[in-house]
Symmetry: D4
Subunit: 226 residues, 8 copies
């Protein structure tokens, strides 16, 4: 094992989630090293925040070994295949600019074999857009709500459905949006009871939280795919 990387390979067995590689702040060499390590151990690996311009700097063999998705800025080192079946949860976005974060959540769910539904651009300025999906949303065990700016969508969804509502505040917006802090605080100070939140732009974390929940709920069914 390289002295700079000390993978926690036991994590999947211990908590049901494997260690992912957050690519910002890592050198192409370190990322390549992690890929080789995963391949050597024969385990699938998820890479997040792998922007196209960083992806382009990876060594060609590393690039070739990756199932890369630029819209979510994620890559997967196989063996892996997309989940099928009816969605267990929904990922909802307030605006088009929130999509990269939502897609990070969707890819993470897919990596763990969990099918999910994407509903985009349904912010509260046109309230009919989210209300149109009310009945559908009430059927899911969880809804991941991705919103920036003032984050009003968290409370609106939290007041409509009884399942778990996981807020993902995004850095969409400017000025008083404060790089996502306003949406984050809105999630935390929500008047809807029991809304939980993760870090700004952390689609990955929201998906992991959903995995923890679903794992506990339906440990038997999911275990096959996870």
């Amino acid at each position: 094992m390289a002295p700079e990387v000390n993978f926690d390979f036991q994590r999947r067995e211990r908590i049901g989630l494997s260690e992912a590689v957050f690519c910002i702040g890592k050198t192409p060499e370190q990322i390549g090293e992690a890929i080789k390590l995963a391949q050597a151990h024969g385990v699938p690996l998820l890479l997040t925040r792998l922007a196209p311009e960083i992806f382009a700097t990876l060594p060609p063999p590393a690039q070739a070994s990756l199932d890369y998705d630029p819209s979510s800025r994620t890559a997967i080192v196989g063996p892996w295949r997309p989940p099928a079946g009816s969605p267990a949860l929904a990922v909802v976005t307030a605006g088009t600019s929130d999509l990269p974060v939502a897609r990070e959540a969707l890819r993470t769910l897919a990596f763990y074999g969990v099918p999910a539904r994407e509903i985009a651009d349904v912010g509260v300025a046109g309230l009919w857009r989210i209300l149109k999906h009310e009945e559908e949303l009430r059927r899911y065990a969880a809804v991941i709500v991705v919103a920036g700016m003032e984050g009003a969508l968290f409370s609106v969804v939290g007041g409509l459905v009884g399942g778990v509502v996981i807020a993902v505040p995004t850095s969409t917006g400017y000025g008083a949006a404060r790089g996502g802090e306003t949406a984050l605080h809105a999630a935390l100070a929500s008047c809807a009871p029991g809304v939980v939140t993760v870090n700004i732009d952390n689609g990955y974390g929201a998906a992991c939280a959903a995995i923890r929940m679903l794992g506990a709920q339906t440990r038997s069914e999911v275990s096959a795919s996870v």
Copy 2:
């Protein structure tokens, strides 16, 4: 004129709004002085943030001269009478705890002869509460929305009605509500176009903004009462 108080008596003629006395940070003597000054000039005077415990410290003659309303923490030195007629605008609150701020707005409007409608406790956690009033709200030239915590109500109302929407963020809430800053930022970063805001807990300022707007709109009718 006392050297400590230098009233801007020309303000009403100049901008249609007279100088009010913000009572926090003033001594009972200074408040009493202001009341006497208004009486000597024969002009009505509005006092704001006059908490019951401060009111109780005023000299008895000052107390007797005031039309005091503890729920809004305001007092009026006559001549004055409450407005009548159908409401020109609505004051809406997200929760019961936002009422003192809403009442400050309502009393300020009343001081200037503007009748208004109070709609309380219609926060978005139970969305049907505000939607029940949608048609009514669309008929007003302006809606003052009073909300603390995450302030989601600002955007919801801003997306439903075409009149002026004046947000009044309140200090209701704790922790990430940050003493009203989260609601304030939510108003500023709202996804609904054209929502404007005033300072935290500033019901008085919201009413003044509405007066400016109504004065400009219907200068002739209002001028009789204002």
Copy 3:
């Protein structure tokens, strides 16, 4: 119905959680009104942040109608009885000073009929204390972790168990603890994947999030008591 209170009685049916009364910023009259309203509708009601000194100001009939618990600063208007059975989740605290917040979570869970386990004072400065409970904690569907100061316990628990980990940052600490913001940020920036968080000192919200999750998980069994 009083114009100042506009209860969302449909909320329980809609999302499985009923509206609770957050007592800070409300007058004794408004709290008494809410109690009467609940009694008139024959529904149980939870009151939070009801400090002993506020409880003492309530009208005697209101006091008499409440099942009051000073350690959690909560009260319940019946009909209600404590849950029995083996715990579905654990509530863990880093220190003794975090207990009031943990107890708010426990009482909220109890109000909804969910039995839970309290494990107190197991902060990471003495790591053996939490490790002693590792096996037990791994058996729960969820762990609510209540911690102030630097909030290191969130990440440690998040790395040990595969169930849902709900962080409740508390305002315990001083200076750089920043009234709970440091623990809050620690939960959000946790290196353990899938940890979710609620507002500072919000034991109530953490319990509601757990209810949402358990409701989805075991809707049939819980429905009897909830």
Copy 4:
């Protein structure tokens, strides 16, 4: 309709303002998609924050279809023509650096058919500059004041005119100007009664607020152009 964009075409009818495209954070493809969508529906569309370097990345047909104005960083997809007639309100700036924001407000007003007057570089360090326009400003139903740094102009104008005063704090300045936060706080804490504010650099929002006000004021006359 593309799944990534979910236009709220009903907004204009509902609230008198149509959905605009905020171009920061959107890909050239998404912007091009929005343009096509508007053209397909035959409705005019406003694009904001379209910096020249982003404009240059748009597909040539998209570029050709736009009435682009680099000084305001806005573009309009026709059918559209500039308003004529005497100005209904004024847009005032403290300094030359505030012009791009002021121009965004002016273009938005023009998009909705509202003629407005630009008065530039009249900050309070040379007080005679704004006082020279005092009489003119008092004639408008509204004044949009655009200022960065310490934002003193908001209060000065607010104390001179009786019409609506909409502050637009800008990010002009450095250090203690804090990227526009100081001007924003100055607008909120203004000693002039009834000043309202929008987000930092949000010329678009200020114009929308003015449209709301004018729409309410003179619904009949404006409706032809709006």
Copy 5:
């Protein structure tokens, strides 16, 4: 000398200003000790932030030895007499609530033998109030401007006079006034060139800065009284 107090008696000779006693955070015993020490050395002593309720807790002999002024919350241990002659500078306040801070500056100036002029309640919401004094203010070598809320008065005065302008931001206001930070930032980000500032509510510091300036300017004349 008591080990807890280590007076810098050389300071007056070294920099023209003697050490003052800031009374907040000191015990009555420590304050009494400082008074005795000054008396033993036969030097005058200035005490600041001595609120009436703290003054009342001082030992009677200490109280008797003080020339106490509650409006400025200062006390002076003799030998001392108020300055006479025409004022060398002016102390201007935006509002009545800023007076305690202005008075602290005036007392400090008086302690050092510098006569000064007080001009109160001339905030910019009624601009004529400060303009009425324009000619007078232009004659002074320095103007200390005391203002809270948005602090617009700093820039207005800075643009009118050529003498030194020392801003004293005050904690007057609420919400976005942020306890004086907004006025402080306004002074720092002022568009008027060469405005300097001191700490929030620091009337004492502003006076000391003026003493430094006047000492340098007219070292010979002032030295008699200082």
Copy 6:
């Protein structure tokens, strides 16, 4: 006069300081316009924050007309010549990285005909460096102290000399230096009495403050050069 620039040419006569051009946020065209305007009026003009890369974008005639100094990022449009004579004040820096800000102050002073002394790199980590200059510094009417990081030099100089001490906090440093805020707060909270401060990195403002002071002190002598 161009509508985008509205020079306050009366400022020099009114307050002894002329309007300068802050080049950040202005287009090359606007800067060129300002230069032409000054030349047309035959008045000298100071340009600040004119980084070499911006200077290079100016039209060649504009470049040719400027006396440009890259170390201070300032330019002067003549007629102008450097001051001679013994220095009236000193400009002191804590470190080498603070030099650009110090040089901005020195050039501004030179523009107004005030000779000054530069003393660089005398931070308190090697206290002997500033103490070596103690006697010299005590002879000046004013000392401008330029320091970033923790800004300890402000208090040390303020405790050593009796002249005016003008602190210029700089953005030198990282992390807890917070872009200059720590040095700024250190100046404001200084234990040395009468230290005043200007905005972060505002060498220009510090020089203007000194001009105000010297103008008042020695109006007759300085007026020849200013």
Copy 7:
């Protein structure tokens, strides 16, 4: 063992420091419980932040068992006796108001048997005060520097001595002192190399850090007393 308190009795053996009781936020019952627990185990116990008014609420037997020192707000449950011998380190304060924090450090050192020297009120506004002690300070293995306001003393001491310098920022000051944050940031951004810091007002932590260092340095000698 009470379920609310879970003492880490192994800590002393593990890291050389025993668990102390931070009394803020604990009930008198919980404090009394901790005292009994320590007595039952026959181990000495340190209580910090035990203000006189909290001490007075303890049960009389608890009070009687404590060696209470109001100036440091600490109490010790025996067996314990003050250390003798020449001091191993010094505790220095900038001002008189910093003494309670310094005394907390001194008592903690004493509890562990480490003699230390107190040097009070030697802030940099009178630089001679600290320079007078330069030679003495250079002889100690460590200097704990306690300072609020701008915290300049940290850097001055850090530049004079080669031993360990532990900064303790205090909440002394107001306004820009920001409750100790400015001094804290000053310690962190110090230009003197190798200064370390602890939390605001954390005299206890600084002493513990010194114990760690001395324990490592002279493990054998100290172990007898510790």
Copy 8:
């Protein structure tokens, strides 16, 4: 000596640490000047924050004279050789992204002749990684812990070992990690007693603190190499 650089060459003799060159914000000329100065005096010199892209801009002779290490972004001007012998302390990192900061500490230690042990990527999400090193860590006189995000590792190590624990918070992370502030606050608010901290990303400072401690501990042995 160049007037822009005023090296404190006495510092090594005075406090055991020589002045280092922090390269950010300095021109290539100033860095080259510093190198020449050190060579002229025949003293070794450490340069920090010398990113590869800045290194590439140095004059070739300067480049050639440097022992440059890109992973730590440091360079050393000889005479110098790496230390040998068993490590006196350990440098531990939570993640791979923290390595550049850890390496800055290691190179600084090496510059002063102190051998140290690197243990990388042992964050608490996989607690077994740090526990595996518990026994080894307990043997060192000091442990430098380098961690970003939530900084939980500081408290965990602080609760395991009795030696000095120096926290180095890093800017690793995003959103609520707040550029290192959360890890910084976590170090300051740690529940483990006696943890000290330095500035964000300040590996250099942590090493200097360790040198101060080791110098005091084993002055005789170390002095040969230092």
